[in-house]
């Protein structure tokens, strides 16, 4: 099997957002989804463009221009979709994250994610 691209944390977030938006994601919606996933960290719009561009250059995603809409001042969207290479890279990242989570759970106990999530939720409001 060919080696897949290794993804950085931000690239993983962007690919997850594209997957969650069912290949209809574009700059604004991908940014909103990534911010939701990366909470409590804030994400700049520029960082999203750079990451999408890099992922597209790696062949992990592709883009298409949609029809112009009035809400956008008569301008088109650039919609992104996950390519097979991207799906594979994201799958590998998810498996690795799962393995990492399991290893930590062995030491800190199975309910550490829930406790930590609740504690973090309190801290961030």
């Amino acid at each position: 099997m060919a080696r897949t691209e290794s993804l950085g944390p931000f690239e993983q977030l962007a690919l997850t957002a594209i997957l969650a938006l069912h290949d209809e994601g574009y700059g604004v919606t991908i940014h909103a989804k990534v911010e939701e996933l990366a909470r409590p960290k804030t994400v700049s719009l520029g960082a999203i463009y750079v990451t999408l561009d890099r992922l597209e250059e790696k062949g992990l995603i592709s883009s298409r221009q949609s029809a112009p809409t009035a809400e956008r001042g008569g301008r088109a969207k650039r919609c992104y979709r996950l390519e097979a290479l991207g799906e594979r890279a994201l799958h590998e990242s998810a498996v690795m994250a799962r393995r990492m989570g399991d290893s930590i759970a062995e030491i800190w106990g199975k309910d550490w994610i829930g406790n930590w999530g609740r504690q973090w939720g309190k801290q961030t409001g």
Binding site: Y26, G27, G46, V50, E57, S63, A70, G73, R75, K77
Partner: protein, 208 residues
């Protein structure tokens, strides 16, 4: 402020939008402006979004047009070109000067990066990231492009010289060396960029 689009949603002021459109590379102008319009709530918020999006798209565009190893190689070639020109015209302009070579390299590279950022979309058929891209892929053959490059570099160097003189009259680049360095740099860089474009063919490209 107070403008709306056709659906009575708040719209960014035309003047600011036009400025941002000017600053954005052509390749991503349409969708980035659309995104900024959609996120618009206030002029300050719009400017904050634009301040994040514009530099990011320019850098992204430059990175995509010219990979870092090529950029470093180009910088080296321009620097070497200036030193060679300085050695060539040492009788007219004095011995080579490292500071002059570095500042000349910085200016030429800034010009090239500017050109990379604002040239046509990378997906356009016949896009050539040479310093002086042709208006149409079939128009000038390679040698003509190099000749045009040499001519424009001389012109460019003279223009730069004027601005440089206005800003730093006591640190003026030697004229003959600058012109010769511009020619040498152009001759060295143009084939490199044409080669880069050729090897780029196999790389994944942005959908149209």
């Amino acid at each position: 402020m107070g403008q709306t689009d056709g659906l009575n949603n708040p719209a960014p002021p035309k003047f600011i939008e036009r400025l941002v459109a000017r600053a954005l590379p052509r390749d991503c102008r349409e969708h980035v402006l659309g995104d900024l319009h959609e996120r618009y709530t206030s002029p300050i918020g719009y400017l904050a979004d634009a301040a994040s999006a514009v530099p990011a798209t320019i850098l992204s565009r430059v990175r995509r047009a010219t990979p870092l190893p090529f950029l470093l190689l180009e910088t080296l070639l321009v620097y070497a070109g200036f030193l060679a020109a300085a050695y060539w015209s040492r009788k007219a302009d004095g011995p080579p000067n490292a500071w002059e070579a570095a500042s000349f390299t910085a200016i030429v590279m800034a010009g090239l990066l500017w050109k990379d950022a604002y040239s046509g979309p990378l997906t356009e058929p016949g896009f050539r990231p040479t310093p002086y891209s042709p208006p149409h892929p079939d128009w000038p053959p390679f040698w003509l492009r190099v000749m045009a490059g040499v001519y424009l570099t001389v012109y460019f160097s003279c223009g730069l010289r004027t601005f440089w003189w206005l800003a730093w009259p006591h640190q003026l680049h030697p004229m003959v060396t600058t012109m010769r360095a511009g020619c040498i740099a152009s001759i060295l860089i143009s084939p490199l960029r044409i080669w880069l474009d050729a090897i780029r063919e196999d790389r994944p490209r942005r959908a149209r």
